[in-house]
Amino acid sequence: MTLMAMLALIISSTLVYSAPLIFTSIGGTFSERAGVVNVGLEGIMGMGAFAAVVFNLTFAGTLGAATPWLGLLAGAVVGLLFSLLHAVATVTLRADHVISGTVINLMAPALGVFLIKVLYGKGQTAPIAQDFGYASVPGLSKIPFLGQLFFEKTSGPAWLAILVAVISWYIIFKTKFGLRLRSVGENPQAADTLGLSVARLRYSGVMISGLLGGVGGAVVAQSISLNYSASTIVGQGFMAMAAMIFGRWNPIGALFASLFFGLSQSLAVVGAQLPGLNTIPSIWLQIAPYILTIIVLVFFFGKTRAPKADGVNYIKAA
């Protein structure tokens, strides 16, 4: 294998595995910037994956190649609806954020598999007919060298995710909505005094995390697993949370952290094809992403600062 081919393989598989993490970690950023810890990202991704697969299986015949992209929308809508459970529990019913998030994680695979059994009569779906596969970005792929590495046979959703990261950074740090969102995550009392609705802003933060988490799950289902079962989402949601922390609650930081985790995940998959890595027992490549997550948390958590009122319920004085 030539160096060029190796680089192209690593880059394209990194982008494939990063895309869901980018979407979801940015979702988590919105939620936590508003002061709601969202441990339920894993479950939200699961519901997004479920919705995308059902949509894909149902409409692939009529919609053709556009199906996976519309499947992202299906994942987004279902993810958003599912995240309302977390919003109602934490914002309105004052539940502990970690407990509520855990409920989301317990509920999602149970509900997903239950519905799959009701719809298809078995515990996992058939493979989807239309997946993202690899596409070339028109125009950009003609750039010499770089075009071949980054834009030829690449992952479409990954480039969409990078775009979303930039837009999210703008929204959180440069718009009025972003300022308000951050203020309820830092100091809800002050925000309330100034006439902002803490509850409404926190709901929107959680709902955006549901939307993006649903998209993240839909990406996993339609570019990696290609079907839905209880084991479609195995830890990507938690990895996205770690990426969010590593990225210091900043969408651009989350983007780079996700690319880093995507690289380590993809090495576990393509490592066997790469000279040097193929001598390492596969178990080490398999557990490397999880060990890296822990290492990153250990060395970076102390240096980062979560939004001040993250995970703290705001109870308005009666």
């Binding site: 004052r94 509520s100 409920v103 509920m107 695979p109 149970a110």
Partner: protein, 378 residues
């Protein structure tokens, strides 16, 4: 996170609401909820074997729930119970298969200690990482679940010698010197896989209750959980107590896994995911509301759901996953206990208002408004 103490009524209402949600889902998807729940009860209590099954299910859940509670008391949310249990399970089975000729009075205590010890180690690591570096134990324990899952499967598939394996995916059964099953219990429950583990679990409820409420160690763990700064000021080491609490928590989960290995399954086999006993144990602890007796009751309720759920697809066509949805809903209502407390406060307020109006009519004077009711929700 502070320890959440629930009243019994919150737990009972949560179970009721969870079952109602389950019934609504069954109705929506065209199943008969009465038939569904009858099938559930039938397969949980239909025979002595079913009851044995419920007790077998309760055994590890009590231990993992105790583990969760100890960690929660120290201010930790231990989601890593599954991985810690798996560590104990693999370790204890591997150990007992490696020494088939060890006499039973040496084998069983040493296997239990090894299993619990491995779980304790797996629990102490995230405890130390948070105490020392501030790394969130929620994420670290979840990552460790995956690491331990892959390592456990890898040890089975690539490290264990061929001599102790039945196939590439399963170990041989542990010998009579390591089995926790007891003939009279097996006979009484018509061949269910109940074992002496249930007695170990019941004893551990008392032991953990004693340690946590009657000893200096327990007092320190509680103090650190309630207010680390105050505990430090009083001369207690927050770091040491954090690690000890997480080690006890992981040790209990490891013991649960050991009993799964030496009492329930009698072997270890390739796992597709982290053992459910970890997450279910967490649900038991949350439903039990931090009370040791509550854990026993909650373990019974969730085990009845689990074992009963196994019979639902056969006789009523309802997919097994329904009981997991019900369990998650129950925990939702436990978590959102504010809802239930608010309802109770509203009802109480209405009662008192009614009482006041009658009183007011009698005295023909205006009763003072009752402010205290609004604060009851807290």
């Amino acid at each position: 996170m502070t320890t959440q103490k629930n009243s019994l009524s919150v737990a009972l209402f949560s179970v009721l609401f969870g079952l109602i949600i389950g019934a609504i889902i069954m109705l929506v998807f065209g199943y008969n909820p009465i038939a569904g729940y009858m099938a559930l009860l039938g397969s949980a209590f239909g025979s002595m074997q079913d009851i044995g099954g419920v007790l077998t299910q309760m055994t590890p859940l009590i231990l993992t729930a105790l583990g969760f509670t100890v960690a929660q008391t120290a201010g930790f949310f231990n989601i890593g119970l599954s991985g810690q249990a798996l560590a104990g399970w693999v370790g204890a089975v591997w150990y007992s298969l490696s020494f088939p000729d060890m006499p039973v009075y040496l084998m069983i205590p040493s296997a239990l200690i090894i299993g619990a010890g491995l779980g304790a180690l797996a629990g102490a690591i995230p405890g130390w990482l948070r105490a020392q570096f501030g790394a969130s134990e929620v994420i670290v324990t979840i990552m460790m679940n995956y690491i331990l899952l892959f390592l456990g499967n890898n040890i089975l598939q690539n490290t264990m010698s061929k001599g102790i394996k039945e196939s590439a995916e399963t170990t041989k059964q542990v010998g009579a010197n390591a089995s926790l099953q007891m003939k009279w219990l097996t006979d009484l429950t018509q061949g269910s896989s109940i074992s002496a583990g249930i007695f170990i679990s019941l004893i551990m409820i008392v032991v953990v209750w004693f340690i946590m409420t009657k000893t200096t160690l327990g007092f320190e763990i509680r103090a650190v959980g309630l207010n680390p700064d105050a505990a430090k000021y009083a001369g207690m080491s927050a770091k040491r107590n954090a690690v000890v609490a997480m080690a006890i928590s992981g040790g209990l989960a490891g013991l649960a896994g050991t009993i799964e290995g030496l009492g329930n399954y009698l072997n270890f086999f390739t796992q597709n995911g982290s053992p459910a006993i970890g997450f279910d144990g967490m649900a038991v602890a949350l439903l039990g509301g931090g009370s040791y007796l509550g854990i026993l009751g909650a373990a019974a309720i969730l085990s009845i759901l689990k074992i009963g759920g196994l019979g639902m697809p056969m006789s009523s066509g309802v997919p097994f996953e329904l009981v997991d949805i019900v369990t998650a809903s129950i925990i939702f209502f436990v978590g959102a206990s504010y809802l239930i407390k608010l309802m109770q406060a509203r009802i109480k307020a209405m009662d008192e208002k009614a009482a006041q109006t009658t009183k007011a009519k009698k005295l023909a004077t205006v009763g003072s408004t009752n402010d205290s009711n609004q604060k009851d929700g807290e």
